[in-house]
Amino acid sequence: MKLNYTNDQNSFRQEVRSWLERNVPKKPLLSLDTKEGFEQHRHWEKTLNKGNWSMVTWPKEYGGRGLDLIEWLIFEEEYYRAKAPIRVNQNGVFLLGPTLMEYGNEAQKQRFLSAMARGEHIWAQGWSEPNAGSDMAAIRSTAIKQGDKFIINGQKTWSSRASFADWTFGLFRSDLETSRHHGLSFILVPLDASGVSVRPIPQLDGEPGFAEIFFDNVEVPTDNLIGNEGQGWNIAMATAGFERGLMLRSPARFQETAANLIKLASNYDNLAPSINAALIDCWVRAEAYALNIYQTASKIQAGKKIGPESSLGKIFWSNLDLEMHAVALKILGTQSELKNEEAKNISSWIKGFMFSLAGPIYAGTNEIQKNIVAERLLGLPR
C-alpha cells in the first residue's frame, strides 16, 4: 500500500488544472436538456477532445491518453473542482466506451470510439422498455437478422439524452425462440435512421432529460452488433458494472456536493444538533466513497475484476447524494423552494435534490441492487 501520489501524478494534476482553468467556459452553459444547451455541451466535448481529455484511460489511437484509473480519478477531481460542464456524452464515454473496449471488434473500436471522443456521436442508452424496467430480461423489442441487416421493431423508454442524441446502444430480442436473458443482442442504432422516432419526456424539472424511442422496421447493418448474437445480456451486465461500480459516478462529484453543503451550513448560526450530525455524516460518507473507489481502482489495476460488489457502491452513492440534498433543503428552510437564476447557490439545491431522487432508481433500482448483494455476495436463496 502506498497512499501518496507520485510526482508524475502530481504534475498530471497540475496539467489538468491549468488546462481547465484556461478552457472551462466562464459563463455556465445552458441546460443540456434543451436543444441549444445540448449543442453547447457537444461543443464542450469537442473542446475537451482537442486537449485529448475526452477519456484519459483510453488508448491514444482512440483519442485517449493511455493513462490508468488513478489518473482518471485525478482528472475527475480537477474536473469537478473547476466546475466544468456536465458530460453530455457520459453514456458514451463512461459506459459504451469501456464496453466496446472489451467486446467490440477492431473495426467497431475504430469507427465508434474516436467519433465518441470527438463529440460527433452523442449516445443514449436504450435498455428499459415500458414493461421491462427492473425486470430487464422481459425486453420485447426485436432485432431480427435478415442477410447482413437487423430489422428492429419495438419501443425503448426512459432513455437519457435521447431527446437530442445521435445514437443509442440498445438491447433487443434477436432470437424469438428463447426467452428471458437468452437470445438478446447488443446493437448500436443511429437515431436518425429511417423508422426511428423519438418522443421526449419532460422530467421532474420540466425538461426532456429522457425520451421514448420507437422503432418501426428500422434497418441496421449487422456490423453494428457488439459481441455475438445472443450475448447481449452478458455484455449489458458488464456495461451495468461500469455504470454502478466506478465510471458513472466518480467520487469527486459527491465530495464537491459535501463540501458545498458544509460551506452552506457555515453561513447559518444555531443549526439544530440533528442537522449538524447529518452534515458530518454526509461529509464522512463522501470521504468513505472516495476511499473505497481509490481502493477499487487499485484492485482493478492489479488485475482483479469487480462483480456484484458494484451494487454496494450504487446503493451507497445514491443514498448519500439524496441525503446531502435533503439536508441542504432543511438548512435553507423557507428559501429552499426558490428557483431564481440569480441565486444559483440556493436554487441549485432544489434542482439537485430532485435529480438525487432519481439516483436510487436509475442504473437499476436500489431494491434490485440489494437483491443482487444478498443473492450473489451473501449467497442467500433466490
Partner: protein
C-alpha cells in the same frame, strides 16, 4: 498511489483464518468463559507462535516491521474469531509504536514485546482488559508514559457485559517509572486506539453477517428459507454496504499512523465513526434476522455482538468523534472538496 495489500500477506491471513476455524471455535470461547480467567496462556502462545506479535514490531526488537495497514487484515481476522486474549491490543498499541517510545522505556519493555502482553490505559480507554495476565502496564497521558509492574498496581476487577473481557479499574500505582513524551506520540497512540477498535469492528461485524447469512439460508418459515424473503435480504444487504464502505477508510487510517500523515487524527476519527456504524447495524439487523433465536444465550451470535457493544465507545464515543470531525471541518472550510482526500499538507 496503490491501495492494495501486499499479496505476500495473503498466506499470513489464510494461516490466521485457519487457526480461527480449527482452534478458536465459539465453543472454545464458551469454555473459556467458565474459567476463572478466560485468558488462555496456551492460545496466547499459539498466536505468538504464528508471529502475530512480531508483525508490526520494529526490526530492532526482532519484529517484522510491517506497517499497521499491511497487518490490518490479520488483526481483522483475529477479531472475526472473537479472540479473548488482547493480542490485537498489544500488537497495535504497544508493538506497532514501541520504536517511537522514549529509549529508556524501550529498554525496559523490549524483552516483553514478543512473548508477553503489555496492557495500556489511557483516559479514553480507562478500564484495563486482562490486567492480571499482563507483564506490565503503560499508563498514558498527554505528556508521559508511566510504566508499572503489574504487581505494583492496585486495582478493582469490574464485570463486563462481555464475559470475554476481564476489566480492571486502576486505583493506585505503588511504584512506577515515568517517561516524558511529546503530544505527537500521545496523539499517535490515541489514533492507534481508534483505528484498532475500527479494525476489530470490521472483523466482528463481518462475523455477525456471516453467522446470520448462514442462519437465514437454513431456517424455514412459510415452507421456504427465510433468506429468500426480500425484507430479510435487504436487511443483510444494508449491513454489507456499511461494512464495505468502512473498510477503505479504516485501512487508510491505519496507513496514516505509520506514514506520519499530518491528518492521522482525522483519518482515525473517520475510520472509527464508519466502523462503529457498521457494528451498530450488523448487530441490530443480525439479531432481527434471527428472530427469538438471536435473543438467546445458546446461539453464538451474541459472543460477537457483545464484543461490538463493549468496544464501540472505547477510545472515544461516537459523539466525541463527531465533535472532533466537526471542529476539523469548521477550521478547514476552504480545503474541503474533490481534491481533499489524499492532499498532502
Amino acid at each position: 498511489m496503490n491501495f492494495t495489500f501486499d499479496s505476500e500477506l495473503d498466506s499470513f491471513v489464510a494461516t490466521v483464518s485457519d487457526f480461527i476455524t480449527k482452534d478458536y471455535s465459539p465453543q472454545h470461547i464458551r469454555n473459556a468463559w467458565q474459567q476463572e480467567s478466560p485468558f488462555s496462556q496456551e492460545k496466547w502462545q499459539s498466536m505468538v507462535g504464528l508471529g502475530i506479535t512480531q508483525m508490526t514490531l520494529d526490526e530492532r526488537f526482532n519484529g517484522m516491521g510491517l506497517s499497521l495497514d499491511e497487518a490490518a487484515l490479520v488483526y481483522e481476522e483475529l477479531a472475526y474469531g472473537g479472540v479473548i486474549e488482547p493480542i490485537i491490543e498489544h500488537s497495535i498499541l504497544v508493538n506497532n509504536l514501541a520504536h517511537y517510545f522514549p529509549y529508556d522505556l524501550q529498554q525496559l519493555i523490549s524483552s516483553k514485546l514478543v512473548d508477553s502482553f503489555i496492557a495500556v490505559v489511557h483516559p479514553l480507554s480507562p478500564l484495563v482488559n486482562h490486567l492480571t495476565q499482563a507483564a506490565g502496564l503503560l499508563s498514558i497521558n498527554e505528556s508521559s508514559i508511566i510504566y508499572t509492574d503489574v504487581a505494583s498496581v492496585s486495582h478493582t476487577i469490574l464485570p463486563s457485559n462481555d464475559p470475554s473481557r476481564k476489566l480492571s479499574r486502576i486505583d493506585n500505582l505503588e511504584s512506577f517509572q515515568a517517561f516524558q513524551i511529546d503530544k505527537n506520540l500521545e496523539q499517535k497512540i490515541v489514533s492507534s486506539g481508534k483505528v484498532m477498535t475500527a479494525i476489530m469492528m470490521l472483523g466482528l461485524s463481518r462475523r455477525c453477517l456471516d453467522i446470520t447469512s448462514e442462519y437465514v439460508k437454513t431456517r424455514e418459515q412459510f415452507g421456504k428459507p427465510i433468506g429468500s424473503f426480500q425484507a430479510v435480504k435487504h436487511m443483510l444487504a444494508d449491513v454489507a454496504v456499511k461494512i464495505e464502505f468502512a473498510k477503505a477508510a479504516v485501512y487508510r487510517a491505519a496507513y496514516s499512523i505509520n506514514a506520519d500523515n499530518a491528518n492521522h487524527a482525522l483519518h482515525a476519527n473517520i475510520a472509527k465513526y464508519l466502523a462503529a456504524q457498521a457494528g451498530e447495524i450488523a448487530t441490530k439487523n443480525s439479531i432481527q434476522a434471527h428472530g427469538a433465536m438471536g435473543y438467546t444465550w445458546e446461539v453464538d451470535l451474541h459472543i460477537f455482538m457483545r464484543r461490538i457493544w463493549a468496544i464501540t465507545s472505547q477510545w472515544s464515543s461516537a459523539g466525541a468523534l463527531e465533535l472532533e470531525i466537526d471542529r476539523f471541518l469548521q477550521s478547514n472550510l476552504e480545503d474541503l472538496g474533490s481534491t481533499f482526500t489524499f492532499r498532502e499538507k
